[in-house]
C-alpha cells in the first residue's frame, strides 16, 4: 500500500460544508449585482461631458508656474515656510498625459453607481470570505485541497487585493469592472465544473508547508492577476494615446471607454509595481514548494509538470523584469511579456491540473 495516496484525516462536517456553499452562491449573486452597478457606472459616465474635454487628452501644459514657496506668517511676525513644494517632471520620455477621470467621469449618477458597486463588492467579498472560512472549518484544514477550493480562495484574495488598494487610496477604481467580471467567471467555473465535495487531503498534503506554499502561491496569483489586468489595459490605452498623438481618431467606443482610464504611463507603472513587488514572493513560493517536495517525495526538484510550469512562470516574469531594464523592450513589448507570464501562471493553475498528470494531481477536478 503506498502511503502517499491513502492517508487522510478527520471526517468533514456536512453542515458547515453546506453553509459554505450557500455563502459562495450568495457571494456570486452579490458580485452579479456589483457587476450591473459597475456597468451602470460606465454607462452614465459615457454621457458625461467631463470625459469629452480635450484637456483630458492632451499633454497638460500647465502654465509656467514657478516652484512654489509659500510663506506663512506665525505669531512673532517672522515668516516661516511650510514644506518647500517639490515639483516633479517626467524625464523618461513618456507622454505627459494625465490620468482619465475614471469610470463615472464625474457624472453624478455614474458616481453613485460606482459607490454602490464598491459597497456591493465589499459585501460579496465578506460573503465569499465566509464561504472559504466555513469550507476550511468543515474539513478542519487549510481550504486548499482541490481546484474548487483554490478557485474560491483565489478570487477572494484577488478582490481582497483590490479592496486593499482602494483603502490605501490608490487609483484603482478602474479595476472594478474587469475584476468583478472575472471573479464571476472564476466562481462560475468553480461551482459548476470544478466543484468537489469537501473531503480529506491526500497525505502528502499533510504538512505545514501546505499553509506556507499554497497560501503564498494563491496570493501571488491574485496579485499577478491584478498586474496582468493593468498590463492589458495599458496596451489598449497606449494604442489609444499613440493614435491621438499621431493625429488619428480612435473609434467612438474606444474613446468613450479608454479616455476614462488612467494614462498609459500610470497603468504601466501600476502593472510593473505589482509584478515586481510580488516576484520575490513568487520566488519564495517555488523554493518553499521545493523544500516541501524534499520532505514529501524525497527530492526537492524533480521536473514534475507543476514544478516545470512554476519554473516557466518564474523565468517568464524574470524575463519581464529584464525587459523593463533593456532598451527597446520597455513599454508594449514588456507588457506582452507580462501577459505571457500571467498566461503561464494560469496554465499552471488550470491547464496542468486538468490536462497533465503528475505528482500534483490531487486536483480532484
Amino acid at each position: 500500500m503506498n502511503l502517499a495516496t491513502t492517508l487522510a484525516a478527520a471526517e468533514p462536517n456536512e453542515d458547515l460544508a453546506r453553509i459554505s456553499n450557500v455563502l459562495i452562491y450568495s457571494a456570486m449573486a452579490v458580485y452579479l449585482l456589483a457587476f450591473f452597478a459597475h456597468m451602470a457606472e460606465w454607462l452614465f459616465g459615457s454621457r458625461s461631458k467631463v470625459a469629452r474635454t480635450a484637456a483630458a487628452l492632451t499633454p497638460a501644459k500647465t502654465a509656467a508656474k514657478a516652484p512654489e514657496v509659500t510663506a506663512k506668517a506665525t505669531g512673532g511676525g517672522t515668516a516661516t515656510l511650510e514644506r518647500p513644494k517639490v515639483v516633479t517632471r517626467s524625464v523618461t520620455g513618456s507622454r505627459d498625459v494625465p490620468d482619465g477621470p475614471g469610470a463615472s467621469a464625474g457624472d453624478e449618477k455614474g458616481d453613485l453607481y460606482g459607490r454602490i458597486a464598491v459597497s456591493l463588492t465589499v459585501l460579496a467579498f465578506l460573503l465569499e470570505f465566509g464561504g472559504v472560512l466555513t469550507r476550511a472549518l468543515s474539513v478542519q484544514r487549510a481550504p486548499w485541497g482541490n481546484m474548487y477550493e483554490f478557485s474560491i480562495t483565489f478570487s477572494t484574495v484577488a478582490v481582497g487585493v483590490y479592496l486593499t488598494l482602494l483603502v490605501l487610496k490608490k487609483n484603482v477604481a478602474w479595476l472594478g469592472l474587469p475584476l468583478v467580471t472575472t471573479v464571476l467567471l472564476d466562481l462560475g467555473l468553480a461551482v459548476t465544473v470544478l466543484y468537489t465535495e469537501s473531503d480529506q487531503l491526500v497525505p502528502a498534503l499533510h504538512s505545514y508547508w501546505l499553509w506556507i506554499h499554497v497560501s503564498t502561491a494563491i496570493f501571488c496569483g491574485a496579485v499577478f492577476y491584478v498586474g496582468g489586468v493593468g498590463a492589458l489595459l495599458y496596451l489598449f490605452r497606449d494604442s489609444y494615446e499613440t493614435k491621438l498623438a499621431s493625429g488619428g481618431q480612435p473609434g467612438k467606443f474606444a474613446t468613450s471607454v479608454l479616455e476614462r482610464l488612467p494614462s498609459a504611463a500610470s497603468l504601466d507603472k501600476f502593472s510593473y509595481r505589482l509584478n515586481a513587488a510580488i516576484f520575490p514572493l513568487w520566488t519564495f513560493t517555488i523554493i518553499a514548494g521545493a523544500i516541501w517536495a524534499g520532505d514529501a517525495w524525497g527530492r526537492y526538484w524533480g521536473w514534475d509538470p507543476k514544478e516545470v510550469w512554476s519554473f516557466i512562470t518564474w523565468v517568464a516574469y524574470a524575463g519581464y523584469l529584464h525587459a523593463r531594464a533593456t532598451a527597446g523592450w520597455k513599454g508594449r513589448k514588456a507588457a506582452y511579456l507580462a501577459l505571457i507570464a500571467f498566461a503561464c501562471w494560469l496554465f499552471n493553475y488550470y491547464g496542468v491540473n486538468i490536462f497533465v498528470t503528475g505528482k500534483h494531481s490531487y486536483a480532484g477536478v
Binding site: 502511503l3 514657496v69 517639490v86 517626467s90 520575490p280 520566488t283 524534499g294 514529501a296 521536473w303
Partner: protein, 575 residues
C-alpha cells in the same frame, strides 16, 4: 523627450545623462554592430553580444520555452514506463522524439546549451558589473547638473543663510539620512540606495550558486529502497538495498555509515463513517545509530517527516503485513520460521506473496526437498461464507492466512534472479488433497495446516508483524541550494524594493544678495517616493536655512526664469 530638441536642450540632455551616469551597472545597450576584423574581433563581438542584456533576455525566454515540452511529453527521469508506452503507441513520432531528446528534456544537449549559455552570459555580466560597482563605491556621486530644474524632482527657496552655510547644513542633513554626500563644484552631491545594486548582484550570483548546487546534487545523489520487517534492521551499504539508483559521479564510499532498526510500525484507521478504513496515522518507530557504531537513538518516521541522518534522509514510503509462519518436517522438527512480507493488493491490506523453504526440509523418505507456499492474507476477514476472501478493513482485526502448498525445486539455484513474492512452480509438484486438487487451507492465528501424507506442517503464528518500505536518499548540495535560494530572495528584495537615487543641493547668492537654494533628485526609475523624500530633506534643510522674507516687488521673478515651462506640479504627475 521629443525628437526635435533645440541644440541647447541637447547639451542639457547630455548634462542630465552625466548626472544619471552609473546609477546602475546594467550594461549599455549598443546596436549589434558587425565586427570589423579578424578572429579576435569576432570573438569580442560574440562575447559582447552574449553578455548583453538583450541576449540575456532572449536566452531567458528560450529557457522557459525549452522547458515546456518536458511537461507535456513523458520523461524518462519521471516515469520510464510512460515513455515506453508512448514509444509503443507512436511508431513514427516516438523515435523522432527520442532523437530530439524529448524524453530527456532536462538533460538534453539543447536544453543544457540554453542554460549553459545563459550562465556563461550571467558570469560575463556579473564580473564586470561587480568591478564597476566596487568602483562606484570607491568613487563619489557626480556633481550637480547645470540645470537642476530639469530633474524629475525639484524644489527651491530663498534664504538669508550664506551659501556655504547651506551647503554645510545640507551635507549634515544628507549624511544623517545615510546618503553618501560630498561637496563638489559649488554644490552638494549625494547618493543612496547602493544596496539595490548589491542586492541585484547578490541575486545573480546566488543563481549561479543554486545551479552549481543543483548540478552537484544530480551528479552525486543516490537513492535506494528497502523493505524492513518489524524487528529487522538495515545498515547503509549498497548490498543491503532492494533497489538503488545514483548519479553518474556517485561513489559507494560516500554512503553515510548509519544503521537503523524498525522497532514497530503503527497504523491507525478511521473506524466508522463514510471514510471508514482511511488511514489516520502511519508511523514507523525506529532505533538508529549514526556512524559505524554510534549511540542508539529513537525516532519515529512519518510521511512528510523523514529521518535525517548524516546527510541522508530516510523516508517512509509504504507498509504491509508479514505473517509469521513455522514449518516443521515429518519428524516435527522446525525447519523454517520467518515473518514473510506480503505485498498489498488493495487499500484494505489484502496481500499476496510466497513462502519459500529453501533448505533444511527432508520429506518422509528422508530426501532433501524444497517447499513452497502461495500465501494470501487478509487483516480483517469478512467471515466464513461471506463472499470473497478480500479484506474488509486495513487493521488486523480478524486476520486470516490462506495457503496452498507445493514441493520440489524452487528453481532458485538456476542463477536467474527471482521475485521473492512469487512462486515459480515449474519444477514443483502440488500437494494434493483427498480429491486430487491443490492442497490449500485457511488458517486463523495459531492454527496449523498438516501437509498430506504426514509430510510435515506449517503453522500460522499469532505474531503477525508489519513491514515498512523506506527510501533512503542522499542529495549533496541541497544545503547550498538552500543557501543560494535564501540569498536569491534577499538579493531580489533589495534589488526590487530599494531605489537608488541621487540628490543635489546648490546654494548661490542671487543678484539681490539673498541666497537661492535649489534641490533636485534623480532616481533610476520614476517613483512616487523620490519627490516625497526630496520634500522631506528640503523641509529639514529649510529648518537650517529658513526662507527669507518675501521681497515686496514681483516675488517670483527670480525663480520663474529658472523654472521650466513643462514642469508639472507634483500632485498632478504622480497618482
Amino acid at each position: 523627450m521629443s525628437k526635435t530638441e533645440a541644440p541647447e536642450e541637447q547639451s542639457e540632455q547630455s548634462g542630465l545623462d552625466a548626472a544619471g551616469a552609473q546609477l546602475s551597472t546594467a550594461p549599455k545597450e549598443d546596436a549589434p554592430n558587425l565586427p570589423s576584423l579578424g578572429v579576435i574581433g569576432w570573438f569580442r563581438w560574440f562575447w559582447r553580444q552574449l553578455t548583453s542584456m538583450r541576449v540575456a533576455l532572449i536566452l531567458l525566454l528560450l529557457l522557459s520555452l525549452g522547458a515546456i515540452p518536458g511537461s507535456l511529453i513523458p520523461q524518462n527521469n519521471v516515469d520510464e514506463l510512460k515513455v515506453q508506452d508512448f514509444m509503443d503507441r507512436h511508431s513514427t513520432l516516438g523515435p523522432l522524439y527520442d532523437k530530439l531528446q524529448l524524453f530527456d528534456v532536462y538533460s538534453s544537449v539543447w536544453f543544457s546549451a540554453i542554460y549553459i549559455l545563459l550562465f556563461v552570459s550571467l558570469i560575463g555580466c556579473i564580473v564586470p558589473r561587480t568591478w564597476q560597482f566596487v568602483g562606484q563605491l570607491r568613487g563619489r556621486p557626480p556633481g550637480a547638473p547645470k540645470k537642476l530644474t530639469r530633474l524629475p524632482a525639484y524644489t527651491t527657496w530663498r534664504t538669508e543663510a550664506e551659501p556655504e552655510q547651506v551647503h554645510e547644513a545640507a551635507l549634515a542633513v544628507l549624511k544623517q539620512r545615510r546618503f553618501r554626500a560630498h561637496t563638489a563644484a559649488g554644490s552638494v552631491a549625494a547618493e543612496k540606495g547602493y544596496l539595490r545594486e548589491a542586492g541585484n548582484l547578490m541575486f545573480h550570483i546566488a543563481l549561479i550558486v543554486m545551479l552549481i548546487a543543483f548540478a552537484a546534487g544530480q551528479l552525486f545523489k543516490s537513492e535506494g529502497g528497502k523493505l524492513i520487517t518489524e524487528g529487522d534492521g538495515f545498515a547503509n551499504t549498497l548490498s543491503q538495498y532492494d533497489d538503488f539508483k545514483s548519479g553518474s559521479l556517485f561513489d559507494t564510499e560516500e554512503l553515510a555509515p548509519f544503521s537503523f532498526k524498525l522497532d514497530d510500525f503503527e497504523g491507525t484507521y478511521e473506524k466508522s463513517g463514510p471514510n471508514r478504513g482511511t488511514p489516520r496515522t502511519y508511523r514507523a518507530n525506529v532505533t538508529y545509530s549514526e556512524g559505524v557504531d554510534g549511540p542508539e537513538k529513537k525516532k519515529s518516521i512519518e510521511v512528510n517527516k523523514p529521518l535525517e541522518i548524516d546527510g541522508s534522509k530516510v523516508y517512509l514510503i509504504g507498509h504491509g503485513y508479514a505473517p509469521t509462519v513455522t514449518v516443521r518436517d515429518s519428524k516435527g522438527e522446525v525447519v523454517y520460521r520467518n515473518s514473510v512480507p506480503l505485498l498489498p493488493i488493495d487499500q484494505n491490506g489484502t496481500a499476496t506473496g510466497a513462502i519459500k523453504v529453501l533448505d533444511g526440509y527432508k520429506n518422509k523418505s528422508g530426501k532433501k526437498e524444497q517447499l513452497g507456499f502461495n500465501a494470501f492474507f487478509v487483516p480483517t476477514f469478512a467471515g466464513e461464507g461471506k463472499g470473497q476472501m478480500f479484506s474488509q478493513f486495513p487493521a488486523p482485526d480478524f486476520p486470516v492466512l490462506a495457503l496452498s502448498a507445493y514441493h520440489g525445486s524452487l528453481g532458485v539455484d538456476s542463477g536467474v534472479p527471482q521475485n521473492v513474492y512469487q512462486l515459480d512452480t515449474r519444477k514443483m509438484t502440488k500437494f494434493k488433497d483427498s480429491r486430487g486438487e491443490l492442497f490449500k487451507k485457511r488458517l486463523l492465528p495459531g492454527e496449523t495446516m498438516k501437509l498430506p501424507g504426514g509430510q510435515g506442517s506449517i503453522t500460522f503464528e499469532k505474531d503477525i508483524k508489519e513491514w515498512a518500505t523506506f527510501q533512503i536518499s542522499q542529495e549533496p548540495g541541497s544545503l547550498w541550494a538552500l543557501v543560494g535560494a535564501v540569498a536569491a530572495i534577499a538579493g531580489l528584495a533589495g534589488s526590487l524594493f530599494i531605489q537608488r537615487r541621487r540628490v543635489w543641493v546648490r546654494a548661490v547668492r542671487g543678484a539681490d544678495g539673498v541666497t537661492v537654494v535649489e534641490m533636485a533628485g534623480l532616481g533610476r526609475s520614476e517613483s512616487a517616493k523620490l519627490p516625497e523624500e526630496l520634500a522631506d530633506l528640503a523641509a529639514r534643510l529649510h529648518d537650517e536655512a529658513p526662507s527669507a522674507p518675501e521681497p515686496n516687488h514681483a516675488p517670483e521673478a527670480e525663480t520663474v526664469s529658472g523654472s521650466d515651462p513643462d514642469a508639472v506640479p507634483a500632485e498632478g504627475a504622480e497618482k
